[in-house]
């Protein structure tokens, strides 16, 4: 279940498809191919391949379908890779009306409706289309085990309890395409506390059932794959904490979009490095370090530089056959290394600069203490001290307050004290955000936490489970996402006892033993959670464990985005029940 293999498979299929009915005269004349994309597939493609790879497939012309000023190139074969949205279909109809290329092969990244197909077929009176195919990749591949649908929360929900119909539809079809691309016919389970997940689960089941014959016709497996639908609301703490691993820090402080890291705002940056490509698929160094914490990362970069220096020496002394052989083997790697090194140096130093400049070290330590300690005086004193720091961005103050409310909201005297302090430090919009946050999550968390603590045994097991996986972490990474509880259960080859419910009541959760699991978080996924899953999978591949997991979310969120999402949806009363 490596998503990059799936992505490669599809790109290869699109790029090298030989249809029987192709106009041979075109292929005899020129091997060059054109590729037309729309906005959605452009993202999909750029997340899982590079221009160089496309060039290797002899795709020398890549353009947007919506660009109507394309020049006609009647000798080229045109590959269209599109998401079957209304816009794309319209543009495609327009293109077929007046074809600019000699032959068209159309690939849709999800199911195309019958009426869409009919409209296309009726427009194609010149018979330029030689092939139409559905492939299923209506999602973005972030890492080999992480995917995202990239639907902003604003489009997703009407309010925090009700789906926006369009958002629901997009989420369903995105998930459907993921399941189809991995050939999974899943057993669906969901977070029983979340109406959103329940609705999504039911919709998905309906879709799977209706397409069971045509699409989900996979061999029956002894252990049916499991799809777990979770709600961001159930773990609001994880996305609030400052992240400390490489990939998540880049996401948090610099931002990464379609594998592009924009460094142009970095002072004194080399012009070549204004925009760099970063993908765990092509960049082995990044793949090794993306889940490392900042300290380990610094060491690794240092090693990388020394490694580079020794390799640079190799190129200077080639005297024996031995040397030549080694050189031929190592040279391409070496070439890549030199470009890579400056890239990572630039990113890491920018991260370091921001950490210093924004006082993150101090803030994050307190965040972690607040989130993992019980309510105590030392932490609160520290909180008050940091909240009154003059040079700290008020955003971080707001965030600290939110974390406090989330964890220790029961202590009302302190919360009031905190609110007063916050009023002095933050501007009105942030204050209102704080109250929105408090209203939404403060209650929910209180209710959950109390019974858990009273049940001594389950509390202990939980703590124990956590201990096992976090023994080696440092003070900045004390907090462990809720998700690990679920992963721990999976690790023991059992269906999670709490927090998830099977949609199909006929399956006995006690005997169900999931071996392939897809986790999906409505409301966005943090890279810290992706890291937990990655570590789980690493263990699988090393020890030949029993279970493989892929995680995804409606989007990949940063702390700031999570907080703004709170205010993005116009609030209705929290408890409709």
């Amino acid at each position: 279940m490596n998503l990059f293999t799936v992505g490669d498979f599809y790109i290869n299929r699109i790029a090298n498809f030989q249809s029987k009915s192709s106009d041979t005269s075109i292929q005899e004349k020129s091997r060059v191919k054109a590729l037309l994309l729309d906005n959605d597939t452009l993202s999909t493609i750029s997340m899982c391949t590079t221009q160089t790879e496309l060039l290797k497939h002899e795709i020398y012309l890549v353009d947007k379908l919506e660009n109507i000023h394309r020049d006609p190139m009647p000798h080229l074969k045109c590959l269209c890779y599109l998401k079957p949205t209304e816009d794309s279909i319209q543009n495609l109809l327009h293109e077929l009306q007046d074809p600019k290329y000699g032959e068209y092969q159309i690939f849709f990244n999800n199911q195309v409706s019958k009426s869409q197909l009919e409209r296309l077929a009726e427009r194609d009176d010149l018979e330029v289309v030689t092939h139409v195919e559905e492939v299923f990749q209506d999602y973005l591949i972030v890492n080999e085990d992480v995917f995202a649908l990239e639907i902003p929360l604003y489009n997703l929900l009407q309010n925090q309890l009700v789906w926006d119909p369009k958002g629901l539809q997009e989420t369903t079809s995105g998930l459907m395409s993921l399941l189809l691309s991995l050939k999974l016919n899943p057993t669906i389970s969901y977070d029983p506390n979340s109406k959103l997940c329940q609705k999504l689960a039911k919709d998905l089941e309906y879709e799977v059932k209706t397409n069971e014959r045509q699409l989900f016709d996979f061999p029956v497996r002894d252990s049916n794959p499991l799809l777990v639908l979770l709600d961001r609301k159930s773990d609001p703490l994880t996305p609030l904490l400052q992240p400390w691993t490489y990939q998540s820090m880049i996401n948090e402080y610099i931002g990464i979009k379609r594998n592009l890291v924009d460094l142009s705002s970095v002072p004194n940056i080399d012009p070549d490095l204004k925009q760099v490509v970063l993908s765990s698929k092509q960049d082995k160094f990044f793949k090794d370090t993306m889940y490392m914490n900042f300290g380990d990362l610094a060491d690794k970069v240092k090693n990388y530089v020394t490694q580079y220096k020794t390799k640079a020496n190799i190129t200077k002394q080639i005297n024996t056959i031995e040397d030549i052989k080694e050189f031929i083997e190592k040279f391409p790697e070496f070439k890549k290394l030199s470009g890579n090194i400056s890239k990572h140096m630039a990113i890491v130093s920018e991260l370091d600069r921001q950490l210093q400049f924004k006082n993150i070290w101090e803030v994050s330590e307190l965040e972690q203490n607040l989130s993992s300690h019980d309510d105590n005086n030392d932490d609160f004193a520290e909180l008050k001290r940091i909240l009154s720091l003059p040079n700290l961005e008020s955003y971080y103050k707001l965030k600290l307050a939110c974390i406090f409310v989330l964890r220790h909201g029961r202590n009302e005297s302190r919360v009031t004290e905190l609110e007063n302090l916050l009023r002095e430090q933050c501007d009105p919009t942030q204050i209102s955000l704080f109250f929105q946050f408090k209203q939404r999550y403060g209650n929910a968390f209180k209710k959950q936490k109390v019974p858990q603590d009273s049940d001594l045994i389950s509390g202990l097991t939980k703590k124990f489970n956590r201990l096992g996986s976090t023994a080696a972490e440092n003070v900045f990474m004390q907090h462990v996402p809720e998700l690990t509880t679920l992963l721990n259960d999976l690790d023991k080859n059992k269906f999670p006892q709490e927090g998830v419910k099977l949609l199909n009541q006929n399956i006995d959760p006690k005997t169900y033993m999931p071996q392939d699991v897809v986790i999906f978080i409505v409301g966005g996924l943090t890279i810290e959670e992706a890291r937990a899953v990655h570590q789980f999978n690493e263990k699988y591949s090393q020890n030949k464990g029993n279970c493989r997991v892929i995680i995804g979310g409606t989007s990949i969120i940063t702390t700031e985005q999570f907080l703004t999402d709170v205010s993005a949806i116009k609030d209705k009363p929290v408890d409709l029940l």
């Binding site: 010149l126 492939v135 991995l182 061999p219 002894d222 033993m513």
Partner: protein, 525 residues
Amino acid sequence: MTEGDGRLLGSESPINENVGHSQVVTCPVCGKEVKSLRKLNAHLDNVHGFNDKHASDVESSRESSVVGLNTHPQDTTLGSNNKGKIKMKTAHWKKPVDGKSVCFECGHKLNARNGLINCRKCGELFCLNHCKNAIKLNESGEYDTTTNGIWFKCCNTCYTSREGYNDFGLSKDVTSAFKRIRNTKNEDGELISLQLENRLLRLINGIIKINVRHQYSILSALRIKPEISNLERSIVEWKDDQVALKCDICSQPFGLLMRKHHCRLCGLVVCDRETSRCSSEIPVLNLMSAAPDLAFENVESLKAISQLSADIRACSSCLRYVFAHRKLQFNKTLQLPEILKQYENLHNLEMIVVNLLPRFKKALETLHDNHPSEKNAVHNLAHLRRKLLQNLALYDKLSKRIVQLEVKSEAENKVQRSIALHASAFIEEKMLPLKKIPEVLNPTTDKVEVTKSSDLLFNNLTIAEVKKYREELMVLREQKYLVENMLNSAAKERRFEEAISLKSNLLEIDMNINDLETKLGDEGF
């Protein structure tokens, strides 16, 4: 039958053999009594921290595998409390040899410490570490996903080779559905376009006849107009323009600035706005040249056909029916743009290099494995290297030429840039490492080769060799052709330094060709 606790796989405890004899069992460690085997297992796991690696497990699993005839080999499945035991046939299990058996996966000797267990499916012997996956099998040890299957332990290979486990990448071809719809629609379309073509033919022929009739008349200008007008109305019935309130194509209402026009082919009332181009007046001559395959009559009889000045108004839909297909076909027959033509050459060169490179690496390999001092091998290597470099130099030049080509459109420009990018990446990847190798082993070997080849001349060449040489010969000839072209152009443009280097290149290629031809002798072509 799946109610066995999923976690409890393989033989876990020595007590298992007591299954069925008594419901109450005693813990072998602390002596505590528990109610069922399942509970015992949980007890062992939780209280004593038992897991797969524990020696007592090993003991029992070995016991069962050694005996083979054990009446309860399947104590592994503890879900047997009410359904009775599943007996698995153990004929396919490998029997361990004391002290000699090794784990099928890691190759370690199997002993009491690391375990000794048969994969329940393939029957090979494994250590416990490499046989802890779960698979559902039926009683003859076959993979079974129905309710007959019960969880057993299996090795990693059996685990991952289950049907559908590593499968991915569904795609669904909908071309046939697409074509079915298209065909039904296009049959109608073809009829319409035939009809329209027919009308166009009659109209143009009629216009030509009228023009021919009046070509010597002084009043021709006066007479031709009404006659054509009559003709037009006889071809197709015009729609009544009194009832036409809006354009039949763009649906805009007519008005002072939106004049009504009749399409001469279908008779509909359409506008002629610049923006929508619902209809346009097209000179007859243009129409005729756009559809040269239609049988226009007596063209010769019109003396000055170029003077034919009549226009025909047609709507965009009719024009599309009649001409879109022709335009497409015409475009396809157009000459390939220079840049694409050159790219084909570039691609051929690339293929040559890609084919040569593994040979070079192999030569390097053999040289490395044998004695580095061996002369022939060194020659061979140097020869291959030179050949590669030659080809790459050619590639480089050709790619530079492509980059310098003048392009006619933005699209060609894009293609050009992509090719340049690809070419430079290719060169960087393949050529630089070759170039950097110092010329230590590169004494020119031409003379040596000539003698060598003359030795070979009377040897019997194998078919493979002949094939290989022929291929090389073809490659060289291709090269020669390219170099000659480049030489000519260099000479024309008076780039003499380049010409000189090209000439030497050419000489070398010629020499190689001669070599090969002598080698091949009568086998050449």
